[in-house]
């Protein structure tokens, strides 16, 4: 009966469903399904110790990273094994896999930091980890995205989760303020990004990056105003996410107010995902139009480098200082992007990988040293950290040296890579500005190091400061001045791993560099074999 009714209504023409290469989706599925499963368990099981959630998040992130290994073998097997799947919406190349690992490891390390943080602040558990993992799956989607719509949805998944994460400390006013500020400005920048996608769709007739690139290389646009407007708007959206000047105004406030483990994640994974978008869209898809967008990135890079390092110096709050320093790092990454060469992309990937470790390490130290309320972040609070916790101060010194680009740390090779890529692309002045701002920024990191190691003796001013009502419980610890800081196990491991990576690969950067070299982004249509299965 129903069959005949349906048959009468209209002839049934089945659609051509797209071929799905599940293996390619494995890392994303592990992360996303892991997040959703954790959400389900979080709603079914009423109370579990928060460490359980933390360990689960770490395990899932590591499994995500492990699933990349066979895929990496496959993609580097032969020269032309990069492909795409799901109707060209998902790219499969070294670039996406590399950044997937960076994001997954960022989640693992941030989750370790978050464990001790949640216990100290007396916050309830699983949501933070759920949001962290779902946000990371958004980041992974961004690094895989071969379609502007997919890129946008990845960006939104990433961002909305991070807005909530920033406001996660429900009993802390500044955290909520950070959340709302980030949300309002972020939503605004997403609107710009979406408008840019619409413009590019109008100019090229597709949202798929492969189609766009084919179209642009086959056609001479009679009038490229619409396309250029699209570039501008999309760049605004992405530059906001990576905190490039002049779209950086949210960064200091949000970094200062948000929970430190979340900031660690924001500074590493969110930045990596943002640069994934910038590289895939601009460097790769709009390669032909590089003379149009390169100058814009050039100016953005200079502004970001100088603003980041100059404003960092005048800060008295260490967390805010690191926020500005992360802006200046975004500037260095933009220097690599501006080169728009394979070498530039390598340098950016290397930078993102090692920067993730040093910045998570730095914010990890801040997480532990911040005390209850996560508020003790003024330079005064850091005076004499070396006496309260020598290990912590030593780790922080490594991270700060690395961020400053001191030789024998990964930061040196990262900065060297992007600057030499810029020189290679004949952007000499940009390289000069980058070097100058590296020197300026070095001063700032030294300021913190000096405070930690050499300024612990002036107990009077320091003691008065600690007796603020703001930090009553921490006051006695500070008064003593030598009270050791308790490092939670998870945070200890995370900081240790970060420090180890920063030093070991600072002496021996070969492995990461080799991986980054193989991780070039590619725009390849699905192979014909898959298309036949699809049809």
């Amino acid at each position: 009966m129903l069959q005949t009714l349906l048959a009468q209504q209209a002839p049934i023409e089945a659609i051509d469903t797209p071929a799905i290469d599940w293996a390619i989706l494995a890392p994303l599925l592990v992360m996303a399904v892991g997040g959703i499963l954790m959400l389900t368990f979080a709603s079914v099981l009423k109370r579990l110790p928060s460490s359980v959630w933390s360990v689960a998040a770490v395990v899932i992130s590591l499994v995500t990273a492990i699933t990349v290994i066979p895929l990496w073998m496959r993609v580097t097997d032969t020269a032309n094994s990069a492909t795409s799947t799901l109707a060209g919406a998902v790219a499969f190349d070294g670039f996406s896999l590399f950044l997937t690992v960076v994001i997954a490891l960022s989640v693992a390390l941030s989750a370790m930091l978050a464990d001790g943080y949640l216990k100290r602040e007396g916050l309830e558990g699983p949501e933070l980890f759920v949001l962290l993992m779902m946000s990371a799956s958004g980041g992974i989607i961004m690094s895989f995205a071969n379609d502007l719509i997919v890129l946008f949805i990845g960006l939104e998944i990433l961002s909305i989760a991070v807005y909530v994460l920033a406001a996660m400390h429900t009993r802390k006013l500044q955290s909520q303020e950070a959340g709302i500020k980030y949300f309002v400005l972020g939503a605004f920048s997403s609107a710009f990004f979406l408008y840019g996608i619409a413009m590019i769709y109008g100019a090229t007739g597709s949202t798929n990056l492969i189609d766009i690139k084919n179209f642009l290389s086959a056609t001479v646009l009679a009038d490229d105003a619409l396309l250029l407007a699209g570039f501008a708007l999309m760049l605004v959206g992405l530059a906001f996410k990576v905190a490039a000047v002049p779209f950086h105004f949210w960064t200091p406030d949000v970094y200062q107010g948000a929970p430190s483990p979340v900031v660690a994640y924001m500074a590493s994974a969110v930045k990596a995902a943002g640069f994934a978008g910038i590289i895939r869209v601009f460097v790769l898809t709009f390669e032909q139009y590089r003379t149009d967008w390169q100058p814009v990135i050039y100016v953005l890079a200079i502004l970001t480098l100088l603003t980041g390092s100059f404003l960092a110096i005048v800060q008295t709050d260490v967390k805010r200082m690191l926020a500005y320093s992360s802006i200046s790092h975004a500037g260095f990454l933009l220097v690599g992007v501006q080169a728009a060469t394979d070498r530039g992309v390598n340098a950016v990937l290397f930078y993102l990988a090692v920067y993730s470790f040093m910045v998570i390490g730095s914010f990890g130290v801040l997480t532990v040293a911040g005390g209850v309320g996560d508020n003790a972040h003024t330079l005064d609070d850091y005076k004499g950290l070396s006496k309260r916790s020598p290990m912590l101060a030593f780790a922080m010194m490594i991270f700060l040296f690395s961020q400053a680009g001191v030789p024998l740390t990964t930061g040196f090779f990262a900065k060297f890579g992007v600057i030499s890529a810029a020189i290679d692309a004949r952007s000499f002045w940009l390289a000069v500005v980058a070097m100058i701002s590296a020197v300026i920024a070095a001063f700032l990191y030294l300021k913190v190091i000096v405070a930690m190691f050499f300024a612990g003796d002036d107990d009077h001013g320091h003691g008065a400061d600690a007796e603020d009502a703001a930090d009553a419980s921490e006051a006695d610890a500070d008064d003593a001045g030598h009270e050791p800081i308790d490092i939670p196990l998870g945070a200890g491991i995370a900081i240790g791993v970060c420090a180890l990576v920063t030093v070991v690969f600072g002496i021996w950067p070969g492995p990461i560099d080799d991986l980054a070299r193989e991780a070039l982004p590619r725009l390849v249509a699905e192979s014909s074999a898959f298309l036949e299965i699809g049809n």
């Binding site: 349906l6 209209a10 049934i12 023409e13 089945a14 659609i15 469903t17 959703i36 959400l39 389900t40 979080a42 709603s43 079914v44």
Partner: protein
């Protein structure tokens, strides 16, 4: 005028008639009835109870959560609608994809329910 637009002419006429009807009835009423306002008569009617405070009162944040949930599932419905229009075309593929889509959202709803967000406290 395209056929397409013409088919919406009915909607426009319907809307126009609705507005006109309201205008005529209310206008006629205000024209015919006597107007002798007193303080009691101008007071807002709240089921026979004396109104307390301003009519713009602050509402509870719980309403907001319900409204937000409503928006989310409204958006979900928007996705389901085109699929449901020509269900058979998409076959099992469409069914599975839609099942995944709805299932993920149901898990979100279950979470909200278990956290007591759907209960009025």
């Amino acid at each position: 005028m395209s056929d397409f637009l013409r088919s919406y002419l009915t909607v426009a006429i319907f809307g126009g008639v609705a507005v006109a009807l309201v205008g005529v009835l209310l206008g006629l009423g205000s024209f015919l009835r006597p107007s002798r306002p007193t303080a009691t008569k101008t007071m807002a009617y709240e089921s026979g109870v004396d109104p307390v405070g301003d009519m713009w009162s602050q509402s509870n944040i719980r309403y907001y959560v319900f409204a937000l949930m409503f928006v989310l599932f409204d958006v979900e419905a928007v996705f389901i609608f085109p699929w449901a229009m020509r269900l058979e075309t998409y076959g099992y593929f469409g069914l599975v994809e839609m099942a995944i889509f709805i299932f993920i959202l149901v898990l979100g709803l279950a979470y909200a329910w278990r956290k007591g967000m759907l209960k009025w406290v």
